[in-house]
């Protein structure tokens, strides 16, 4: 177990190393120079001012020195400075991180639980109308752009029906506390979580259906049946656990997509998380923030990966030896 975690961490560091270098290369491949932008925004730009900025941010050093400094900074948790927002990127990201984690984690759980349940249901009723209905819905959700689902949900549930708030994280200045506050946040979370979760739920549903069908045709299920086990117990004790393994593997890999998807969902719902920050940064082409987001999402993905791997270890006794 320890060794497993260790190897995961080594891998994580490797990935992050590449991300950091990629980041650095991208900044330098970018057209334009941060100093020019900042000067521009200050309303005037004489050369002295630009030069002063360049020195201040070390942009006049040779490239390898800059890479060294960059890596050094990242190691210390310094992800650079947003010239546009005039704040350290790390501060900006930290501020937004919790909202994103809450959103993606809820969506992840929803997608996983919903997908597994629906997929199983479809597999158990293979060929019947429930199966067809689930398959069609999953196919549709899978093919729909995530942001568009968000917009349409807003149109229906917020604009037309007025049931749920369309934007934001909580009612600003409503002064709720305790249960009220939770309910308020919950009602704000509902649409974004459903939007983000739906797509992945579709993915997991389809996979779970296939996986459950495959597992259901395996010999040990027949063995269980030959013991006289009831169908319900066969499903819960034998099929489910085995069928869920491939989904977990994919879920771990897909964590990256999920977090990518949160960019879209957050910008649709003005959810004050990393995705929203990314959207603003894209509009303003604030590379420092974009690269910071890239870094932090990579960290998140790795965290999700380790999480699913741990789940995997809990469920599958075989992995100890294979890692």
């Amino acid at each position: 177990m320890l060794q497993f975690l260790l190897s995961r961490l080594v891998k994580a560091v490797l990935v992050l190393g590449v991300v950091v270098i990629l980041n650095f290369l991208l900044i330098h491949a970018a057209p334009g120079d941060p100093a020019t932008v900042m000067a521009g925004e200050a309303g005037a730009a004489d050369q002295a001012f630009v030069d002063q900025l360049r020195t201040q941010f070390g942009l006049d050093q040779p490239l390898y020195v800059q890479l060294g400094t960059y890596v050094g900074h990242i190691v210390q948790g310094d992800l650079g400075f947003s010239f546009r927002q005039q704040r350290p990127v790390a501060d900006l990201l930290l501020e937004r991180l919790p909202a994103t984690v809450v959103l993606t984690l809820s969506a992840f759980v929803l997608a996983l639980v919903g997908g597994v349940a629906l997929g199983l249901l479809a597999a158990l009723n293979v060929g019947k109308w429930a199966d067809s209905a689930i398959t069609v819905v999953a196919l549709l959700s899978y093919a729909t752009p995530i942001y568009w689902v968000g917009l349409m949900l807003v149109l229906v549930f917020s604009v037309n029906l007025g049931w749920l708030p369309a934007f934001g994280y909580e009612t600003i200045g409503a002064g709720y506390s305790g249960v009220e506050k939770l309910a308020d946040i919950g009602s704000h979370m509902f649409l974004p979580v459903v939007t983000l979760g739906l797509f992945y739920m579709a993915v997991y549903t389809r996979m779970m259906r296939a996986s459950a069908l495959e597992v259901a045709s395996m010999d040990f299920v027949k063995t269980a049946r030959a013991k006289g086990q009831t169908e319900w117990n066969i499903v819960t004790r034998h099929v489910l656990r085995n069928a869920i393994l491939p989904i977990l593997t994919v879920a771990g890999i897909q964590a990256g997509q999920l977090i990518g998807g949160s960019i879209l969902v957050e910008s649709v719902f003005a959810w004050p998380g990393l995705g929203r920050l990314t959207f603003d940064a894209v509009l303003q082409r604030d590379y420092q923030v974009l690269l910071g987001v890239f870094f932090v999402t990579s960290v998140l993905v790795i965290a999700f990966n380790i999480l699913t791997d741990l789940l995997y270890v809990l469920i599958d006794p075989r992995v100890e030896i294979t890692t």
Binding site: Q3, D219, K227, N242, R318
Partner: protein, 558 residues
């Protein structure tokens, strides 16, 4: 409602435990035949072993599944007939009633020990599951019973084994767990669907002995499905022979085996390898065509920088010589390193040590380009006739590819390929078709033709018949013997079937754990084995007594 049938029984005869009456199971519409089994009838009495034999797809398993009520739901359904357990029609029972029988009164073990156990559950829990379903024993009693059963099937330290996951057990151990599970509730009927096919001969023997012992002890009725007549001869009281979904012959084992009435049964028995050593003894004198000297191969695995690596010695200092025109057989159970040696000789893998001399040249010292000229002289026929032919290429092309790679003009090579098809007994027009359009035996002929296209001096045949039906197997063996005689080929013949080896080889090497433990003339090795392992292997051949007394002709039914 269960309907009780009172059948008229001959007075004085104990009623059969299980009676199958005119069972017909329908196949889905597009299948090659309308019924998986048709009007099958046989009975099973207490305290007897009924063996069901027959070729693949003849409906053995479907019948068994029908008894268990485990037919795959939408695809197969019982169209007619009854299955009576102690006079009660299982077919008409409700699902709950069937469940109560299943595992409790009728238990079943399956062919594949690797997949028949839930990989995520401890084996003890899997056995216990049956007890939870059908008894109200408390926890402790159940535990005790599990341990008792594991002990009864001869598993070591049942107390700890109970807590293991299936992946930690060997195939034989898993099959024992399956048997323990099936026997946990002391059923009246045990159905065993090819329980030993996936196991090597020595393990197979242990399992067969175990089943027989337990059957005798508990006076159980056992329905034993197999396609191996040796196994039948070993354990059967009565035999049912099935073909195309029908029972073609049913009778006491002795009768069916020695004096088969049905034409089909006779053909089956005749096509079994006779296992008699060849008479023609080739002089082992003169310079060797191929000599392996001290070949060693070690597989290292788990070798990350951090974790310790495990080493598996699959070839341990092997010496072997093959003379022109000689057939050397390599036998030994699965995993003993036979294929490894073969692959080393044809240059598919590099051993860690030793020399392989072909007409005096050390093949191992050659690089890729240097090896190339020798490729012509050493050719290989692979185990699986389907896997060894590229499904995307036409047969003529497959055969011609080698010569083309060596510079023969394309047209010439293709013409030669057609000729070769004739040599292996296929129509020349076969060259224009794809491999999947041929039967297994025909495919193996194609791969032989491919090897011959290179005009080799040495032919390595790695289990060339193990994927084939008994009757087809016989044809291919005959073809090989024929060609060998015509072309004076030297051959290294690999198999795990000792009877096949005895029939075709001049010289035999017996392998165990990567070493050749016995090596000598076939007659010597099979007639007077000196190594204990060789003896154990020979002992494990099922149905020897029967084979000895009723030698099959060894030829295909013509």
């Amino acid at each position: 409602m269960p309907q009780t049938e009172t059948e008229t029984q001959a007075p004085g005869v104990a009623p059969p435990l299980l009676e199958i009456k005119n069972l017909t199971v329908a196949l889905p519409d597009e299948a090659e035949r309308p019924f998986a089994v048709e009007k099958v009838r046989y009975t099973l009495n207490p305290d007897e072993i009924l063996c069901v034999v027959g070729e693949s797809g003849s409906g053995k398993s479907v019948t068994a599944h029908a008894i268990m009520g485990l037919l795959p739901k939408p695809d197969l359904r019982i169209a007619a007939g009854r299955i009576l357990y102690r006079g009660q029609n299982i077919v008409a029972m409700s699902e709950a009633e069937q469940r109560a029988l299943r595992g409790h009164r009728i238990a079943m073990i399956f062919q594949e020990p690797m997949t028949a156990l839930n990989p995520l559950m401890r084996v003890g829990d899997q056995i216990e599951e049956a007890l939870i379903i059908h008894t109200d024993l408390d926890r402790k009693a159940r535990k005790a019973r599990v341990v008792e059963m594991l002990d009864a099937v001869g598993l070591p330290s049942p107390e700890t084994l109970r807590k293991s996951y299936p992946f930690r057990l060997s195939g034989g151990q898993r099959q024992r767990v399956m048997i323990a599970m099936a026997l946990a509730l002391k059923p009246d009927i045990l159905i065993a669907d090819e329980p030993t096919t996936a196991l090597d001969v020595t393990t197979q023997k242990q399992i067969l002995d175990l089943i027989k012992t337990i059957q005798r002890e508990h006076k159980m009725a056992v329905l034993f499905i197999t396609h191996d007549f040796g196994v039948v001869a070993e354990i059967a009281d009565r035999v049912a022979v099935m073909r195309h979904g029908r029972v073609v012959e049913l009778g006491p084992a002795q009768e069916v085996l020695t004096a088969p009435k049905a034409e089909y049964t006779r053909a089956l028995i005749d096509s079994l390898p006779h296992g008699r050593p060849t008479d023609a003894t080739v002089a082992r004198g003169g310079p060797a065509l191929l000599a392996a000297e001290g070949v060693t191969k070690v597989y290292r695995s788990g070798g990350t920088r951090v974790s310790k690596r495990t080493e598996l010695v699959v070839s341990d200092n092997i010496y072997l010589t093959i003379h022109p025109g000689e057939t050397v057989g390599l036998v030994g159970e699965s995993g003993s390193g036979k294929s490894t040696l073969a692959r080393a000789i044809v240059g598919l893998l590099k051993p860690d040590g030793g020399r392989i001399l072909f007409q005096g040249t050390d093949l191992l010292s050659l690089d890729r380009a240097g090896f190339r000229p020798f490729r012509r002289h050493v050719q290989m026929v692979f185990q699986d006739p389907y896997a060894s032919l590229n499904p995307r290429h036409k047969v003529a092309e497959i055969i011609a590819q080698g010569p083309i790679a060596f510079g023969t003009p394309r047209a010439e090579a293709l013409a030669r390929a057609r000729e070769l098809l004739g040599v292996v007994g296929l129509d020349a027009s076969a060259g224009g078709r794809y491999p999947h359009e041929f039967s297994g035996g025909q495919r193996q002929r194609i791969s032989i033709a491919r090897a011959l296209a290179m005009e080799p001096q040495l032919l390595i045949a790695d289990e060339p018949v193990s994927a084939l039906d008994a009757s087809v197997q016989a044809q291919v063996l005959d073809l090989l013997a024929d060609i060998k005689a015509k072309l004076n080929l030297a051959m290294l013949f690999i198999t795990h079937d000792l009877r096949v080896a005895a029939q075709i080889c001049d010289t035999v090497g017996v392998m165990q754990h990567g070493r050749i433990v016995e090596y000598g003339a076939a007659t010597e090795v099979f007639g007077h084995p000196t190594d204990p392992y060789t003896r154990a292997l020979l002992d494990a051949i099922p149905g020897q007594a029967w084979h000895a007394s009723h030698p099959p002709s060894g030829g295909p039914p013509s």
